[in-house]
């Protein structure tokens, strides 16, 4: 990787324990510009925890996280997290939910409003600014959460199974749109880390995949997916990638 461009996000020798139990150990992860990287693994292996460690929402027992070469010591809007359980504040409108990401940045009210509106527009929610989350479908709420994450001008987006609570049709539609939304023109976003156990989803979206397994969990494989976008899951090569990922997770079982 000597000739590679500098990484955007690096997790170096990350280890995490709960009491005496080591959840994962010696994890090294890197993401590069314009790259969507996925982490796959069986349930309970520590994927979501690893994601939170990458955002410093949880401190690792060992290791460090670097963003553009600088150590990250606490959560920052530059690394935004999108939750598995779609989290929107029920007492705030869609617009107010997005504006939350712009607090404390010295922006005027008008500027905040303008940027929040733009973020909602990017995720296809123009006209829904005054809606409360309760008045929206799960898919729309997740779009609000993504708009909020994007509004904070992040370099890295951490997505923890963002489609798992959506019905299949909505998830499919959002999956199809998400890559363009994330890397849209004018976006500061440089890379995305996606956690998922849906191998089809991972092949559809990812540029590169890390596979985690074992106890304590370690990275057991890495796969670069070189498929044209948009990707078609009925393409035989698509299926081969899925099979390969499946093999990575089931080695030794």
């Amino acid at each position: 990787m000597g000739s590679s461009p500098p990484p955007v996000l690096q997790g170096q020798d990350l280890s995490f324990s709960v009491g005496q139990r080591v959840i994962f150990d010696g994890i090294n992860i890197e993401t590069y510009k314009n790259e969507l990287v996925s982490i796959i693994g069986p349930s309970g292996v520590g994927k979501s925890t690893l994601l939170r460690v990458l955002g410093m929402f949880v401190r690792p027992t060992r290791g460090r996280v670097l963003l553009h070469g600088e150590e990250v010591t606490r959560p920052t809007p530059r690394i935004a997290l999108v939750h598995q359980s779609i989290a929107t504040f029920p007492w705030m409108t869609a617009l107010d939910n997005v504006k939350l990401a712009l607090q404390g940045r010295g922006l005027s009210k008008e500027e905040m409003e303008e940027r929040a509106r733009r973020a909602l527009e990017v995720v296809g929610l123009s006209g829904f600014e005054r809606f409360y989350p309760k008045e929206m479908s799960g898919g729309m709420r997740q779009r609000v959460a993504i708009a909020r994450a994007l509004a904070g001008d992040p370099y890295v987006l951490l997505m923890d199974e963002p489609f798992v609570h959506l019905d299949e049709l909505t998830a499919e539609r959002l999956r199809r749109e998400i890559y363009d939304i994330l890397f849209s023109e004018g976006s500061t976003l440089e890379s995305v880390v996606l956690v998922s156990h849906n191998l089809n989803e991972v092949v559809e979206l990812s540029d590169r995949v890390y596979a985690m397994r074992g106890s304590p969990a370690r990275i057991v494989g890495e796969l670069t997916i070189e498929l044209e976008r948009p990707r078609n899951q009925y393409n035989p090569i698509f299926s081969e990638y899925v099979s390969e990922l499946y093999s990575m997770l089931s080695i030794g079982e």
Binding site: T76, L81, F89, P90, G104, K134, G138
Partner: protein
């Protein structure tokens, strides 16, 4: 040893009274909860009745209790029943509402299994409803015990005119020791109460953990019905920091607070006609009894007395307004401190692991038991203050000590219920303390704070009742404010003007109930419509 055996026996008698009433509340709660499941008619009477009766502080029943039990039944039995009734009234509402809510949130799947295997009333109660209600009951033991102890101290000795009625218990003993200035007796009595409080709270805490470990649900099972939040939901804050309890509280909150829509599917459709009719009959009987009692009471009062009562009414209402001011100050101060302390403890797990159990235990220690010691140590300084300010300070202290815990735990519990995702978002966007408070924490805790209001206000009234007029708070000294309805009630009862006391308490009860229905319920509706934090998490 200062009458050590008598003190121990008296303390046991007092604790036994409180525990017996808690037991009675649980058993009746099961039966009434089941009845309200089976009959929409009964439920329609039961729940509003609880809401109204619960909103009237225990002391509102005081003159009624005197008339019914002390005057009509009389003798040691009447006095015992009067004391027991007051304790019952203090402990019952939390427990009844908790059981009702537990029954209403039994997962549909489990009910269908019970139906599938043809379980009848006893089978369903034994295998499903009772076990399912245990964690709620366990959570409610803490505030019920504390409430019961508070009022037992005030109700073991009742003075009506020249007569003093008393039952055997630590409250009676302590009153005697205070009147006689017997310091050793006071200390030993307080020690006995302290030992009992610590012992029982430890037991309750153990029971709460064990009950959730055994009976708590840990799956996202579909909840069949969602109902109104507990008027004293803050009470569930008394659960320990144990993880299972936190899970329970989260589960309970999401199940109970998530919606107030009427049940999607009521079991009444499946209930046997007989049970439905019985439910209606019980509901109508309760209402009928209340109407009949009111008629008898009104008819028994001569016209001259009515005119006297009506002429007293403006003064009573003025005194009530002054008391509302006191309650507002006490609640406001408690709230301000609670927000800071509750937020700190909810976000510092290690500190809260020590502080919360300690506060729970202290909260259960009835302030009237140790207040004379505070008074003794400070009255010389208070005497230096102009006018009635000293008395006001004491009333504030008593009210605060009786109230603070409810506000604190309501808020603390609300903070605990904020999903971890929201905390992560606040960290992610680096919101400062005030931003967190304003944008997330205060809105998210609104339903809990509103739920806690009725307990808070109720307890504040209890504090005022004790503090506004306390003859012989220490030998040779009376604690007395200038104006206050609680003082008027105390004075009327002690001078034997029971009709005036009854009228004042009726006015008081009516105002408090109307206030509760118009203000608290509206605020609750608002909080339910938008401020249910659990609804911020969409996890289909």
């Amino acid at each position: 040893m200062y009458g050590g055996l008598i003190i121990a026996a008296a303390a046991l008698a007092t604790f036994a009274r409180v525990l017996a009433m808690m037991g009675l509340s649980i058993v009746t709660g099961w039966l009434l909860g089941y009845a309200s499941l089976r009959s929409r008619g009964f439920e329609s009477a039961y729940i509003p009745a609880i809401a109204v009766l619960e909103s009237v502080p225990v002391i509102g029943f005081f003159p009624l209790v005197l008339i019914i039990f002390v005057e009509r039944i009389g003798g040691p039995l009447g006095v015992e029943m009067a004391a027991d009734f007051l304790v019952f009234d203090a402990v019952v509402w939390n427990i009844w509402v908790g059981i009702y809510q537990a029954f209403k949130t039994v997962p549909r799947d489990l009910e269908e299994v019970a139906d599938n295997y043809g379980l009848g009333f006893l089978g369903k109660m034994r295998k499903l409803y009772v076990p399912y209600s245990i964690p709620r009951i366990a959570a409610n033991l803490f505030p019920s015990f504390a409430d019961g102890l508070f009022y037992i101290m005030a109700s073991e000795v009742i003075s009506v005119g020249v007569h003093t009625y008393e039952v055997f218990g630590i409250g009676t003993l302590l009153t005697g020791y205070v009147a006689g200035g017997q310091m050793a007796g006071i200390y030993y009595s307080i020690l006995a109460i302290g030992v009992g409080v610590v012992g029982f709270m430890t037991l309750f805490r153990y029971f709460a953990r064990a009950s959730v470990a055994k009976y708590g649900l840990d799956t996202a099972a579909q909840i069949r019905r969602r109902e109104r939040p507990a008027p004293r939901l803050g009470s569930s804050a008394w659960v320990t920091l144990a993880r299972p309890m936190r899970r329970l509280s989260r589960y309970a909150a999401s199940a109970v607070l998530a919606s107030v829509a009427r049940p999607v599917r009521s079991v009444s459709g499946r209930a046997p006609r007989l049970a439905r009719a019985a439910g209606y009959a019980i509901g109508i009987a309760i209402l009928g009894y209340i109407v009949y009692s009111s008629y008898r009471l009104i008819a028994a009062v001569p016209a001259a007395t009515w005119s006297e009562l009506l002429s007293d009414t403006p003064a009573m209402l003025y005194a009530l307004a002054v008391d509302y001011g006191r309650v507002a100050v006490i609640t406001g101060a408690s709230f301000a401190i609670s927000v800071l302390a509750g937020y700190y403890l909810a976000t510092h797990v290690r500190a809260s692991a020590i502080v919360i159990p300690a506060v729970q235990t202290i909260a259960a220690f009835p302030p009237p038991a140790y207040f004379p010691l505070i008074y003794m140590a400070t009255y010389t300084y208070m005497d230096a203050l102009p006018g009635g300010i000293g008395a006001e300070v004491y009333v504030f202290i008593l009210g605060f000590l009786s109230t603070f815990y409810y506000v604190f735990f309501s808020f603390w519990m609300g903070v605990q219920s904020i999903p971890v995702e929201f905390w992560e978002l606040m960290d992610n966007y680096r919101l400062g303390f005030w931003e967190r408070l304003r944008r997330v924490v205060l809105p998210a805790t609104l339903p809990y704070r509103v739920s806690g209001i009725s307990s808070t206000v109720n307890s504040a009234w209890g504090g005022l009742m004790v503090g506004e007029y306390w003859p012989g708070v220490v030998p040779g000294r009376n604690l007395e404010v200038n104006v206050g309805l609680m003082k008027l009630l105390d004075v009327y009862v002690s001078q034997g003007y029971l009709h005036r006391a009854a009228w004042a308490s009726l006015l008081f009860g009516a105002v408090v109930a109307v206030y509760s229905l118009l203000f608290t319920e509206r605020l609750m509706n608002l909080s339910r419509s938008r401020y249910v934090v659990e609804e911020g998490i969409f996890a289909a």
